[in-house]
């Protein structure tokens, strides 16, 4: 983005802040997002869809007499925006007084976004032809394996964006960031015995994306290993979570430690701060400052600086993730996790242990390696989990056959206490991550 364009958007934000104040608001916050995106879907060696776009959006919050109203628009016409902010001030008057409403105080602490390695200057300069070629190559390798019978295609995406945040407390900052991803989906088996798998790599820097060979071979392996599944009988058995499944479990934990869910009493972890909620070897953190990671940012959507927050330390629940509002509600400090009007993680992860995944599998006398789940079946209110599952059945430390059409059920509170082994294979493939883990027992429903 040109300097002139950036200063134009900052000027627009400042104009709206002063407009809101002059209309009677006590506090005003304006955020503007501008970005470009490119994506190509290829399938069976052909381009299926090519998308290229530039877009922008503005959202604002006004607070008057401790009453809040929000508005947003993709139309940046000044008249339109002035209409919206006028309406927002009027709507705020109709809302109820809420003593926790308000913007965060301006903090002196400032994180230089360049130190966080969020932006790859190569991404906006990439030639679409090269990006298309990369997607085609990934799918070609995937289809070259004789066991693969159909393809969902490969997708390459790149995005570059700039976020501006301006508010009436004097906050005025912006940062640029980039994302790219390359993914593949495959099927194996004939029509009535299909299995499917997918694999992708997502990064901020183009040069760190996994190669087409790596993505395709992983995808092939993850697809064909599910061929000719069996059902198992209903039982309680130890279960090993592969890293993507641990990430999924941590994603559920993230919902349950969101300050919003806590003050709404919509989480089983309400009232549990300082209490033991997991085994002693369990450490879970959220870190917004890890350079180059997907969930890293200098500040959150309210301008609170990012930080590292310990969520579970040695099994003790240490902190909830909070925006300014939830923090006031719960009488704690905001953790820099505001995400629009909600709360979101930065890089949330289960700390790694010392065992290799192979060692963990070798300890399994009879049990399941969980490789995929589908469906909903997560209830933060009580921690209950119930999902459709795919896995590999293990006996005496050896994988003997794939398993499908089963469900796993359990409870997050119980699972956190039943983690017996933690792998050394932590990788940040998504903003929420975790290594291989072994759970002492879960209910598997089958035949």
């Amino acid at each position: 983005m040109t300097k002139a364009k950036a200063s134009q958007l900052i000027a627009l934000g400042e104009h709206l802040v002063s407009k809101g104040l002059s209309l009677g608001a006590d506090e005003v916050e304006v955020s503007i997002l501008e970005g470009t995106e490119f994506s190509v879907d290829v399938r069976m060696g052909q381009i299926e869809t090519l998308l290229e776009a530039g877009s922008r959006g503005l959202s604002l919050r006004v607070i008057k007499d401790q009453k809040t109203a929000h508005a947003s628009s993709s139309d940046l016409d000044r008249t339109q925006l002035e209409y919206l902010i006028r309406n927002a001030v009027r709507r705020a008057e109709l809302a109820s007084r809420d003593e926790c409403a308000g913007l965060p105080q301006l903090e002196k602490k400032h994180i230089e976004s360049s130190s966080l390695l969020l932006y790859d200057p190569e991404i906006p300069l990439l030639d679409p032809k090269d990006k298309i070629a990369l997607a085609l190559e990934t799918e070609r390798i995937g289809l070259s394996d004789k066991r693969i019978t159909n393809s969902h295609g490969a997708t390459l995406e790149t995005r570059a964006m700039r976020t501006f945040l301006i508010n009436s407390s004097g906050f005025r900052r912006d940062y640029e960031e980039t994302f790219c991803s390359l993914g593949l989906g495959l099927q194996a088996g004939d029509t009535d015995n299909k299995v499917e798998g997918s694999w992708s790599s997502a990064k901020r820097h183009f040069s760190s994306l996994e190669t087409p060979e790596k993505i395709a071979s992983t995808c092939i392996e993850r697809t064909v290993r599910q061929l000719h599944p069996k059902k198992i009988r209903t039982q309680i058995a130890p279960v090993i979570f592969e890293p993507p499944m641990t990430s999924w479990l941590m994603g559920f934990l993230c919902l349950c430690v969101s300050g919003t869910a806590i003050y709404q009493r919509a989480s089983f972890l309400a009232d549990k701060l300082g209490k033991k909620v997991a085994g002693e070897e369990i450490f879970v953190s959220d870190d917004g400052l890890m350079p180059g990671m997907l969930g890293t940012a200098p500040f959150d959507s309210e301008g609170v600086p990012s930080q590292k927050t310990e969520i579970i330390e040695g099994g003790i629940l240490k902190n909830y993730l909070c925006n300014t509002y939830a923090a006031k509600k719960l009488k704690v400090r905001a953790t820099g996790n505001a995400d629009g009007s909600g709360i979101g993680p930065h890089n949330l992860y289960l700390h790694k242990g010392t065992d290799s995944p192979d060692t963990i599998i070798s300890t399994l006398d009879k049990g399941l390696i969980l490789i995929r789940t589908i469906g909903y079946g997560l209830n933060p209110i009580n921690g209950d989990i119930s999902r459709g599952a795919f896995g590999l059945w293990v006996e005496k430390g050896e994988i003997i056959y794939p398993v499908s059409e089963i469900t796993i059920s359990g409870n997050l509170g119980q699972i956190l206490r039943a983690i017996e082994m933690i792998g050394n294979d932590l990788e940040f493939r998504s903003p929420i991550a975790g290594p291989t883990i072994k759970i002492s027992g879960l209910t598997l429903a089958g035949a």
Binding site: Q46, I47, T49, K231, R265, A266, I374, G375, T407
Partner: protein, 473 residues
């Protein structure tokens, strides 16, 4: 806000639009389309006894699509400057390999043949006070229902989505789609147990719906009742057993297990398990399934789809035989089958793809009471959190509440079960179809390839001979 005409928002005359279409075809594409959208959206949230927040959003933008054979080029912009639109047009055009430029046909606009929206008192023109009052009534109905109700959240969201679609074949159509939903979540606590209940309603209707069809009080009480019901509930038994699906909400099974895999794109690409089964028998003769975008006031209905096609009630399975697919323009052209009006998109940033609207199993002949009586030991599924299917036909859906069936009677309440199966297998196991067709909440949203669209689904009471239920051993 005064509804402005498209010209006011986009400053584009018909002659400008023709120029943009011609530019989109300048590299030899065989079809070009412009999708213009202006949407205003409003939200009111109440929790902890106060109107916590209100929100208003405006979304304005246009998407340009070019097809060249099986390929699609797409570009969108919400910066409505003509040079940005031209750039988007050339970007989309580049999907074609550079054949001779094509020309678009003159635009011919005509009103849509039907109006499936039932609006007397449009939400987007109503006062904020009136809408706040609906939210308060919902909240209070839930909160005052029982002292065990500890937290309530009620919210009202509504939008009006104005769409204009023009294409290189001369199509020029507009649609103004209203949508509203009022929902309530109640949390009950008792004896160290905590459970949530949900209820809601709405559709492509006006505020009169909450007076004439479903009142805020009924929504609030519905959520409270479910949370109290779940406090008493036990976890389900695990294993294979006969399952009876309650009418209405159980439509999610049809949506997941059948609907998605009859979307034409999955069959054209042969990734769906159904692709080679058209015309064959997949269920018993009592099984008939439709997708119908023309149901009056329903959340999944529309006067035209997002490609400007007039929608049709589409039979998918008739008397057990697979007869139809949900088509968009691209798949119908490539497969040589007629369009059905199921090309939908989330908004101007997305390409249209085949989607469901209102999907249901048609009513059968059994008395619902008789169906329950026919089960000695089994599970009755009442309400759901959602479901998911993959192209292989494996699906799951999450039951938030239900009952045990013992000796032909509903007994203990049950919570948090998962039903899992493979669609071709389950379709054959639907052994009894009730005479009591109902639809689930008018609040559902379906996701596919990252695009969310409003849908509903429905069914009568169904008996499935044998199904895997996930629960406790």
């Amino acid at each position: 806000m005064n509804p402005l005409s498209y010209e006011d928002h986009f400053y584009l005359k018909d002659s400008d639009l023709r120029k943009i279409l011609d530019m989109a075809l300048s590299r030899g594409g065989d079809f070009a389309e412009i999708f213009l959208e202006h949407r205003t959206f409003s939200l009111i949230n109440m929790e902890e006894d106060i109107i916590k927040d209100t929100s208003e959003s405006i979304s304005l933008g246009l998407g340009i699509r070019v097809n060249s054979g099986e390929k699609t080029g797409y570009a969108y912009t919400n910066d409505i400057a003509i040079e940005k639109i031209n750039r988007a047009s050339l970007t989309a055009a580049s999907i074609a390999a550079g054949g001779p430029a094509q020309r678009s046909l003159p635009l011919s606009s005509a009103p849509l043949p039907h109006n499936y929206y039932q609006v007397i008192d449009p939400a987007h023109k109503s006062s904020l006070q009136d809408k706040i009052s609906l939210v308060r009534r919902t909240y209070e109905a839930a909160y005052s229902f029982d002292p065990k109700i500890k937290k309530v959240k009620a919210s009202l969201v509504d939008y009006i989505q104005n769409v204009r679609i023009i294409n290189s074949e001369g199509l020029d159509r507009t649609d103004g789609r209203p949508l509203i939903k009022l929902v309530c979540l109640a949390v009950a606590e008792h004896a160290n147990k905590r459970e949530g209940g949900y209820c809601g309603g709405g559709g492509r209707v006006g505020l009169e719906y909450f007076r004439d069809v479903l009142t805020p009080e009924e929504i609030g009480q519905g959520a409270a009742e479910e949370s109290l019901h779940l406090l008493e509930a036990v976890l389900p038994p695990a294993g294979e057993m006969p399952v009876v699906l309650a009418p209405g909400h159980s439509g999610v099974l049809i949506h997941e297990a059948v609907g998605h895999l009859l979307e034409a794109d999955f069959n054209r690409k042969k990734t769906s398990i159904f692709w080679d089964k058209m015309g064959t028998r997949v269920g018993r003769p009592s099984l008939t399934i439709y997708d119908d975008p023309t149901l009056q006031g329903f959340r999944g209905s529309y006067n035209m789809d997002d490609e400007g096609t007039t929608p049709q009630k589409t039979p998918l399975i008739v008397n057990g035989k697979l007869v139809g697919l949900l088509q968009d323009r691209l798949s119908s052209r490539l497969m040589g089958l007629p369009v059905t009006g199921h090309g939908r998109r989330q908004d101007y940033t997305c390409i249209p793809i085949p989607r469901m609207s209102n999907t249901f199993i048609d009513k059968g002949e059994y008395d619902p009471g008789e169906i329950i009586k026919s089960v000695n030991k089994g599970f009755y599924a009442l309400k759901y959190q959602g479901g998911q299917v993959e192209d292989s036909g494996k699906f799951t859906f999450s039951v938030s509440s239900g009952f045990l069936i013992e000796d032909g009677h509903l007994t203990s309440p049950v919570k948090q079960a998962t039903l899992i199966g493979t669609n071709i297998d389950i379709l054959k196991k639907i052994v009894k179809v009730g005479a009591d067709l109902q639809f689930g909440f008018q609040t559902g949203t379906c996701g596919k390839e990252g695009q969310a669209v409003p849908v509903t689904d429905g069914c009568p009471t169904l008996k499935i001979a044998q199904m895997t239920v996930g629960g406790q051993t």
